[in-house]
């Protein structure tokens, strides 16, 4: 149901990146089409978002060339770029199978340039993975 809600930006396995676009182009689509910035400014904003998450070096990678963590960060950057009131990370274990994901997400959320509250939807049986 949350997928239909305009106030929610989702990071989920079933909302993948455009496979033939680079990480930065995937993120730049949002300012380009929603806020009608030109290509150069949209790319600058997308790069800034990746830098803020500490992943500026993946800007030129396409989806098939990314590790699961890099792919997740790009999807997260795209969701952050949407600037919606809520950000939901839906079943992160399905996307972040190469890192201890609760710590990884906490580390991204703690970066100084990143603000807002993220909600994580995960299976009950993974609750033990999260710090209480």
């Amino acid at each position: 149901m949350v997928a239909q809600d305009d106030g929610v930006a989702r990071v989920a396995l079933e909302l993948p990146l455009r496979a033939n676009l680079t990480a930065v182009d995937n993120i730049a689509l949002i300012p380009l089409y929603q806020r009608h910035f030109d290509a150069a400014e949209s790319t600058r904003q997308a790069r800034a978002m990746l830098d803020a998450l500490g992943y500026g070096d993946i800007a030129a990678l396409r989806d098939p060339d990314m590790t699961p963590a890099q792919r997740f960060v790009t999807q997260l950057a795209r969701a952050l770029m949407l600037k919606r009131p809520r950000l939901i990370i839906d079943r992160p274990g399905a996307m972040l199978y190469d890192v201890p994901y609760p710590a990884f997400i906490a580390q991204l959320a703690a970066r100084p340039e990143i603000d807002g509250t993220w909600e994580i939807y995960d299976f009950d049986w993974n609750l033990a993975l999260y710090p209480q």
Partner: protein
Amino acid sequence: MNFLAASIESLGARFVGWFGVGYGLFAFAGRAALLLLDRSTWNRATYDVVIKQVYFTAVQILHVFLGYALVISWLLITIILSTAREFGLTEFATEMTIRVLVLELLPFLTALFIALRSGSAINTEVALMRVNNELDALAHCKVPPMQFEFLPRLIGGVISVVVLAALAGLLALLLAYLSIYGLTMAGFDAFTQTVAKIFDFRIVAGLVIKCALFGLAVTLIPVVSGLETPKKLFMVPVSVLRGMMRVFFAIVAIEVLSLALKYI
């Protein structure tokens, strides 16, 4: 009796299927046409993607295409000229060359070339986008797939086929002149008079419309076919197969219709 009922049922199902496909194509074309008229479509982003599409569909293959047009034109001009000389009809060779090559064969081959190179790629890409939920992701991000993915491909296809057919036609005219008159200006007046006689407004408009329809067919049909793909990876080859068969039938239908309108 059962056989008759089954045959009628099967025929009816096919008819409904064809009607569904036709309706889907025209409905999509109608939506695209409405968006073309919408001012908000013509933003910088769409314009950039159109330029990219024209580059990938036409500019990137220009040297290969012109080489291919050169060889085909040279072969056919040689055949037409030698046959015309054999039957003592040399004075009709120029007109015959232009009518066969420039008006019919080269636009048809251009459409086939673009269909095989870009149409199949578009069909596969759209089918994969649908199967992998990439279109859903774009919708979630409120990036309109019609403006971002589909419309630029349609416009790029139309521009590419029209421009490539025009370039191939010009190349064929040049080759025809050189083959008939050689490297002299002696036949220039006669040649340009024949060209002017054939290319009246009706013929030029018909040629441009035909090429535009070819361009639309080689992009619109693969896009719609890709969008119809069920969300199963193994259905992607089936979608491309169906899409390319429809493209072939559409190209032949446009050519037949154009010939019928011109000569019957």
